[in-house]
Amino acid sequence: MSRQQITDCMTRREALKRGLFGAAGLTLANPLGVRARSAPPRTRAKSVIQIWMWGGPTHLDTFDPKPEAGDDYCGPFKKPIATNADGVRICELLPLLAKQADKYSIIRSMTHGNNSHETASYIVQTGREPGRLVYPSVGAVVSRFKGYDHGYKGLVPPYIVLTQPQGRFSEAGFLGQRYKPFATGGDPNRTPFVVEGIVAQGISDDRQRKRRELLHNLDSLGKAMPNNPHFERLDRSEENAYGMMFGDARKLFDLSEEDGETRDRYGRNTFGQSCLMARRLVEHGVPYVTINYKGWDTHKQHFETMRRKLPEMDAGMATLLQDLADRGLLDSTIIWWSGEFGRGPKIQWNPPWNGGRSHHGKCFCALVAGGGFKGGRVVGASDEKGMEVADRPVYPTDLIASMYELLGIDPEGPMPNPRGLDVKVMPASDKGGGRLKEIV
């Protein structure tokens, strides 16, 4: 081609500006080849709040009570309560959630069969069995498809973890560090909520500004090499960083902007305030927030721990659901409650457990709400003891693919990645009952 012909052709940059790639269904990863797909399904969900029950929450003592199975299985919680959804009952320690049952649906037949923490966390959050590649989790995929690459212009990164990250098996996988979550650290129940990198304790704004000036004055190498692309990138990052530090990002994380009565309703504990923080983030437009809720690995002291934690979980979650509904956000926000597995239905009374529950990956519970999921329903069923799936098994792949559909991410589409791998967003699923059509 002659030089003139080359400049006459529309450059890729122009095509991007005109949005042609997106409209024709082409992706950056494969600009020439892919046949245009049919229009993406109607999407309602814009954000996801993932409540990650770290350690594996008991399914019998939460959303799948089995008082008829006897003391050895149900333990002291023998009187499950009715909810405002017909025929659905949950543990008696969750009265506030019982009043919100019209908003969520319970999946009682989650299964993957794995009882190891890391492997099961990986399977539940990626929908894939472990293999040679480390796949990205739901958060990283949503960040890839709804984050900076797709016009996200929020003040804070698009994938946020409150407050401690889980580590590599539940994160960005081969997508690389650009899609890792931003973990806030700190504790939203404390004042101030020290968000790593954005709120620094003990350094005044004035000192921040002055030392930034010092940094610029001492940047001899940078001044000596003004057009270096590495350094330009570093400068842009610095601009963005200070934008977050001094701008409205700081206000976003400032929970004292909420009135005390609201904060009380969510619960003055880390989980409750994290739920409130998640609502604020979603209101701002953050596509994915994970609340890593620790302490559910109750091999010992199970029932004491449940008496302590279930009311906390109840208040936080129920208030979150009500608050999102009140603000008109529930329709566009998926809430996904799950852990890596459930806990053994048969209580281990013998030492050293003395009343604990083991890991149970064969059959456990998950909860979904909002974003296009219907509420007030139950999907699947476990057997009379909660040991095995009795009806309609749901594999993590099915649940995740259903969420992607609601978010407008094509589960059968290609997964763009920096390593040039030819992989799809979700694997084909031939096990189980398929996607959650009953509640979409």
Partner: protein
């Protein structure tokens, strides 16, 4: 022009501050808690890691390929170096810095130069020396704070982060 690798960077920061990172391994043999004297570059296993190392591109060694290491800069890295409690604590608790302050015996140019030597392995230029001296005279910032901020500024310069 190459950015320092994650392990090298954290080791340099630990050396400058006289602090250590605490690593732990899920595999109890040979160590559950990696001995403090071991440097990060010596970490034997991809799964023994920290938030800092992952953020700065250390590979998890899933594939064993060199290309798995990602030294590209991200906003999160810049934010971390500029304002995280992790780095701020290292500076504020730095035993080495205490030693340098004592050794300078109150002479500011000497202190500034010894900090430059420790971090950038060179003396400060006259322009840099005067900029730093000016900073020490800022109202509302005491000597120790100004010293901390000088260290903070130098570890955030391109010269420190990039091998040239």
């Amino acid at each position: 022009m190459r950015r320092l690798e994650a392990e090298v960077l954290v080791d340099a920061l630990c050396w400058i501050s006289g602090t250590r990172e605490g690593y732990s391994s899920a595999i109890p043999e040979p160590f559950t808690f990696i001995p403090q004297e071991n440097r990060s570059i010596e970490l034997a296993d991809g799964s023994i890691t920290s938030q800092f190392l992952e953020m700065f591109g250390r590979p998890a060694r899933d594939t064993g390929l060199e290309s798995e290491r990602d030294n590209r800069p991200t906003d999160a890295q810049r934010l971390h170096l500029l304002n995280s409690t992790h780095i701020q604590n290292k500076i504020e608790r730095s035993s080495r810095l205490n030693g340098l302050i004592r050794a300078a015996k109150g002479k500011r140019p000497r202190l500034i130069n010894s900090i430059y030597l420790n971090i950038l392995s060179r003396y400060a230029t006259p322009a840099e020396l005067s900029a730093a001296e000016n900073y020490f005279q800022t109202k509302g910032i005491n000597t120790r704070q100004a010293t901390n901020d000088l260290v903070w500024a130098l570890i955030n310069t391109k010269e420190f982060l990039y091998r040239h």
